[in-house]
Amino acid sequence: MKKVFERTRGLTEVRMRYCPGCGHGIAHRLVGEVVEELGVREKTICVGPVGCSVFADEYFNCDAIQGAHGRGPAIATGIKRTHPDLVVFSYQGDGDLASIGMAETIHSASRGENITIIFINNAIYGMTGGQMAPTTLLGMWSTTSPAGRKAEVEGHPFRMCELLSSLPGAAYLERVALNKAANIIKAKKAITKAFRTQIERKGFSMVELLSPCPTDWAMPPLEALKYLEEKMIPYYPLGVYRDWEEKVEKKEPEKVGVEK
């Protein structure tokens, strides 16, 4: 029989704990494949976050370090600045990257740290049971915004690619989605380019992956994918926001609320 697909050596054999319908499993596989295909697996360090993917150090087949909530880019800075030949990626959720870790995210991008951020944006706090995140959409229910997110109370959600795109130190920023095969293929291309940005020493790279969270969105998996397509993508347009190689086209996001 001809082998058409193989588990990447970028991942270990450890069985993942993610919920049915979660995007983390796909994201892990893409990163593992990219790191293997680029031939850098043994020189790669995974900086794992606090969140559903706190166990990333068990799933990625490379040296790993598990650090404090939001501090991934700072930890990565300490590793990369002392060992510039290692490939360092920080895998973070939206609460990690855009709430408690906002300063570390912005400053590492501004300093042009030669690291790669894999940002899983599912617009909710997953591990802790569904609290409002910095990227939770207006009108969206969460356990800490039970009346639905209101701009005048909880503020607007952050668009992180757009925010970081104002910083000269950010060399490559792209937003992708994990809701269907075509987008997943594009996501892998983006992750490849991000790691290439680091390996070719062009500066800071980040890939924001819009990801479903059926459990904390309180939806079945297929409905969650629909929600991602119809509600998240219009507010968080997919595409490249900074590129050191090619010109970037401007994007116009729609303002989208969510009906209760």
Partner: protein, 364 residues
Amino acid sequence: MGERILMKGNEAMAEGAVRAGCRFFAGYPITPQNEVPEYMSWRLPEVGGFFIQAESEVAASNMLFGAAACGVRVMTSSSSPGISLKQEGISYCAGADLPIFYADIVRGGPGLGNIAPSQGNYFQATRGGGHGDYQVIVLAPNSVSEMANFPRLCYELAFKYRVPAMISADGILGQMMEPIEFDFEPIDPDTLPKPDWAIGDATGRERRVVKSYDLRVGALEKQNWERKKKFDTIQANEVRYQLEYEDQAELTVTAYGSCARVAKSAVMMARSEGLKVGMLRPITLWPFPTKVLNHLADRVENMLVFEMNLGQMLQDVKLAVEGKARVHFYGRPGGGIPAAEEFLQKIKEAIKGGPVIPIDPKDI
């Protein structure tokens, strides 16, 4: 080695760290330790090291966590409020058994406080500092010479036991200038063996993980018991102190850091008046010189603890003495700096069995 240089405390400590192999410093401006990051910003690149002014003390302690995980000799410094910010990062280092070196140039607190010297962070330093069951090794210099030479000892102990090690100094020590000599040859960290727990290039070996969590049932408890063994070994083997004039003493004064300099002057004055006063200067605040205090309490009726705070090391002295001697206290918190003549009066009150009258705030 062999060359006497006039240096400021903060800079002597920074130079001492570089000579001891420090190659990564992350810090943030805060008075009275700004000379440390400023010195490191030009000195570290000279030896191929890396300096960064981080976006906050929080970020700095986490940068240390990353670099330390790779086996690098790292350093950060701050003062009181900044040390509070670093506790999350330090607890993570302790939980991952990583060697780091940091310094607290203590100023008056709590809160923003003032920029005067204080010893108000003794509890914070000697009780771990951050969350969880852990200890950091705490060295308390009392001279610029010790500021210069203690970093080497901090790295030695930190790497030997895989624990954080810190210098607890105060604003006076950070700012004063004294002639110093380094008592060791410069260490090239590239000649040191790379630790077998460090993450990095995994070519040709099994992958490694640095982490401070373990959710498997019973695993974290076991980890904590292992760490306790380490702390017990350190307590048994690494206590350092200076004890003077102990025979026939009727009163033992206990003080550390700048307070010990003031106390020494007062003790000399008392002795010249014929009073039999001895002096114990803890050099390691953790591990604390519990045994020597306990033995002293068999022979000496009165002890006098002298600190720039409301009574913190006082508790460790009382614990050590186990009720065998009377323990008196004189303190000046919130940046108050005591004078030798002031303390001499307290020695006279204590040697008679007390009471030792605290300063009347109206007299400040």
